[in-house]
């Protein structure tokens, strides 16, 4: 009888604990379910419809079939891949080089760190407008410098051969985010390892490649994956620089679709043309592409990334 009472009291306490737990996490859970999970599942359903914001009819896989027959779909994918293939390694190398410099005992270190980090907190719209000025072929800062050394100036955003390279160049503006992560990684490398390497006669290059890079390889992998994802999602810069609203005489994703990034194509179709069903299908394909690439690189990186704690693999 006594045992039964204790058991009942325990259960009552447990119930109150659960009630309190779910009461406290409810705002977050509701937020997740209503504002993330529900839209996610809804967009999956919309991708199987011709939803245009007013009408919605189930059309099965028609949007997906249509997508693969659209030349601009392939063009947008090709442009995005070309952007990512250059920007991801370029950003990683630039951020790592700067992080290595910032990790030295140089004068005004805090100032330099702030200076390099600052651009990454400026909004995409503001930096895009700034770069439109810097790369103005007639009166821009960069071309003025190139002219001083008698280099023929490209027309950057206004020339379909140079527009994508202009975005590659522009991506360097925001290496500050990766720089901070690398710097944290570098400062976590035990100095004893460098001392031991020096005692073994390792030169600077060997210390970098045999000690530093392996030790920060998890950070490099993290940076690679996040850079890859953000490269596939590039939108703001191209949207601001091209298109009618830009006033610069370049079509949206132009010239001649040379900067038609995937998300730009998605927004152009899904939102601006009221084809929400088709846009949802495009966004799911992008999700699958990014997920497949992430899983592929995580798998490929297993032998390249060193974890002190092997259990995290």
């Amino acid at each position: 009888m006594k045992i039964k009472n204790v058991s009942r009291r325990r259960r009552s306490l447990a119930l109150r604990e659960y009630a309190a737990f779910y009461g406290f996490v409810a705002p977050w859970l509701i937020g997740l379910l209503v504002f993330t999970l529900y839209p996610l599942l809804a967009s999956l359903y919309y991708s199987l419809t011709d939803f245009n914001g007013v009408e919605m009819n189930f059309i099965g896989l028609e949007n997906y079939v249509k997508m693969f027959s659209q030349p601009l779909f392939y063009q947008s994918l090709w442009v995005t891949v070309r952007y990512a293939v250059v920007v991801v390694p370029l950003n990683m190398v630039a951020a790592l080089a700067l992080a290595l410099l910032m990790n030295q005992q140089i004068p005004l270190l805090s100032f330099w760190r702030t200076l390099y980090f600052l651009p990454s907190i400026i909004s995409g719209v503001a930096s895009a407008m700034l770069w439109r000025w810097i790369l103005n072929p007639d009166m821009g800062l960069l071309n003025s410098l190139l002219m001083l050394v008698n280099i023929e100036s490209p027309r950057w955003f206004w020339d379909e051969r140079w527009a994508l390279p202009a975005y590659w160049l522009m991506s360097l503006w925001s290496v500050g985010g990766s720089l901070v992560i690398y710097l944290a990684g570098l400062q976590g490398v035990p100095t004893a390892l460098y001392e031991a390497a020096e005692l073994d006669g390792a030169n600077a290059w060997q210390r970098l490649t045999r000690v530093t890079l392996p030790m920060i390889s998890p950070v490099l992998l993290f940076s690679f994956i996040t850079n890859l994802i953000s490269s596939f999602q590039i939108f703001t810069q191209v949207f601001v620089i091209s298109g009618q609203g830009s006033g610069g005489g370049i079509s949206l994703g132009g010239p001649n679709n040379s900067t038609l990034m995937y998300v730009l194509y998605l927004i152009s179709n899904g939102i601006r043309s009221n084809r929400l069903g088709y846009g949802s299908a495009l966004s799911w394909v992008l999700f699958l592409i990014i997920m497949a690439l992430t899983m592929l690189f995580l798998r490929l990186s297993q032998r390249l990334v060193y974890y002190e704690d092997e259990s995290v693999r």
Binding site: Y38, E160, G247, G254, P255, S273, N274
Partner: protein, 468 residues
């Protein structure tokens, strides 16, 4: 596993299911319950229906991306005269206008009245079944339409039914700097739209005397004519040519387009030559580097603009300016000029159509239009208010203004953005097609024909989508 360990997962599962059910309860109209499909524009609102009496206040949304000050005044005045009706002026950014409207329609809370101050045009709203037939309301309330330009009312009348009450109206004009013309002793461009001596070639003659191009420092250049007409196909209208068949402006759809006709290619080459052959207009980068509008800054003598040009020129203080007819491409052709007109529309999905119409009629009354005119710089579609507008414009007589504004309406054709379904998508294709011309990387003959098939495919796709 002990029962107490199973509880959290069970509770979480129940919680998630309940939340999803709650979320699903807010599902937008689906195929089973389409609001717009049941009330397409062509069939919407057969007759005004009396709302059942209710103690709840009626809430209306007046949706806009511009003119908030005036619309707030209108809403306040309306609410004073109509207690029990609450009007919210919802102001959104121009590029979010359509997106927000989609979201509101999807959520079942559509805006009640709006005008085409967003990227979509009148025919887009009509084709998507979003706007109501106003004819029964106009008739039931004896709303006086006689003061509006009949040509403009016609633009918003489909199959004898009126779907929009005109608000602003204007055409494409040439705004010119009188001081720069005086400096070279050239006569001003004419206000008479029938003056066939005012041609594209004559405009180039004038430019040869005004323009000065500084190769080394373009910022020091003096420009002659800025090509600000929108969209680009309307330049061909000056020669009575077009990329699209005439039927597209009547039905909203087409399945043909022409980007390879030698005469059209010649016209668009002339369009490009103004910038790259003669340097009478700025390139995109030069325009950006000017640091402001070149006409308003006194750096260019003429500016081809739509009616919104009045907004810009009213800010000019440093020189005298005038408004004239755009030139003839071919003096023997029946040149057209495009009309920009914005109608106020009533949502076919409004939950309070009677009250929404009452608000629309109040907003479109002569008193409110006069107030709108006094606060703005754009001519309205009421003939009786033109004299008021003429009095606002400096440096020109009422006769000159009357000739240029009314002449434009006589020669006018409604702008593609208003009359063509899915214009935004069509214009995207055109924008890409004209990249080489705009950026001077290739000639019209070499670049445009390659886009003809893509343009036709887009037209066919739009027709198939919306006519369905």
């Amino acid at each position: 596993m002990k029962p107490t360990n199973r509880f959290p997962m069970l509770a979480l599962a129940v919680f998630m299911v309940l939340t999803l059910i709650m979320a699903a309860c807010t599902t937008p109209p689906t195929a089973e319950e389409p609001q717009a499909t049941e009330a397409p524009a062509t069939e919407a609102t057969e007759a005004p229906v009396e709302e059942p009496a209710s103690d709840e206040p009626v809430e209306l949304v007046l949706y806009t991306s511009d003119g908030v000050e005036w619309l707030t005044f209108v809403a306040d005045e309306f609410m004073k005269q109509n207690p029990g009706i609450d009007v919210t002026v919802m102001n959104v950014a121009w590029d979010e206008f359509d997106t927000k409207m989609i979201a509101m329609n999807t959520a079942g809370t559509p805006p009640d009245i709006w005008t085409s101050w967003g990227p979509s045009g009148f025919m887009d709203y009509y084709a998507r079944g979003l706007i109501a037939d106003l004819t029964p309301y106009i008739e039931a309330s004896n709303f006086d339409m006689s003061d509006f330009y009949p040509e403009v009312v016609d633009y918003f009348t489909i199959d004898g039914k009126i779907y929009g009450i005109p608000h602003t109206v204007g055409a494409a004009y040439i705004f010119y700097n009188k001081d720069m013309f005086d400096a070279v002793g050239e006569p001003y461009p004419p206000t008479d739209w029938n003056d066939t001596s005012w041609t594209w070639d004559r405009m180039l003659d004038v430019c040869s005397k005004i323009a000065y191009h500084d190769e080394a420092d373009p910022a020091n250049s003096t420009w002659c004519v800025s090509r600000g007409l929108y969209p680009v196909n309307t330049y061909a209208w000056l020669w009575d040519k077009d990329i699209f068949p005439q039927s597209i402006y009547e039905t909203g759809y087409a399945e043909e387009a022409n980007l390879s006709d030698p005469e059209l290619l010649e016209i668009f080459q002339k369009y490009q030559d103004i910038t790259y052959e003669y340097h009478y207009d700025q390139t995109g980068p030069e325009w950006m580097a000017t640091g402001g509008d070149p006409f308003v800054m006194g750096k260019t003598a003429m500016q081809m603009w739509g009616v919104w040009g009045f907004d810009n020129t009213f800010t000019v203080e440093d020189f005298k300016w005038g408004v004239a007819a755009v030139p003839y491409g071919d003096p023997n052709a029946d040149r057209k000029v495009h009309i920009y007109a914005n109608p106020w529309m009533l949502s076919s999905q409004s939950r309070h159509p009677e009250e929404a119409w009452k608000l629309l009629a109040f907003l479109s009354s002569p008193e409110m239009h006069l107030d709108s005119l006094n606060r703005g710089t754009t001519p309205l579609a009421r003939k009786s208010l033109m004299d008021e507008f003429y009095a606002m414009v400096p440096y020109m007589t009422a006769e000159e203004l009357d000739e240029v504004l009314n002449g434009a309406i006589e020669h006018g054709q409604i702008a593609p953005a208003t009359s063509i379904v899915g214009w935004g998508e069509i214009n995207n294709v055109l924008g890409t097609a004209f990249d080489a011309i705009e950026n001077g990387t290739d000639t019209a003959a070499n670049s445009l024909p390659a886009f003809e098939d893509e343009l036709i495919a887009k037209l066919k796709e739009l027709k198939a989508t919306y006519e369905k």
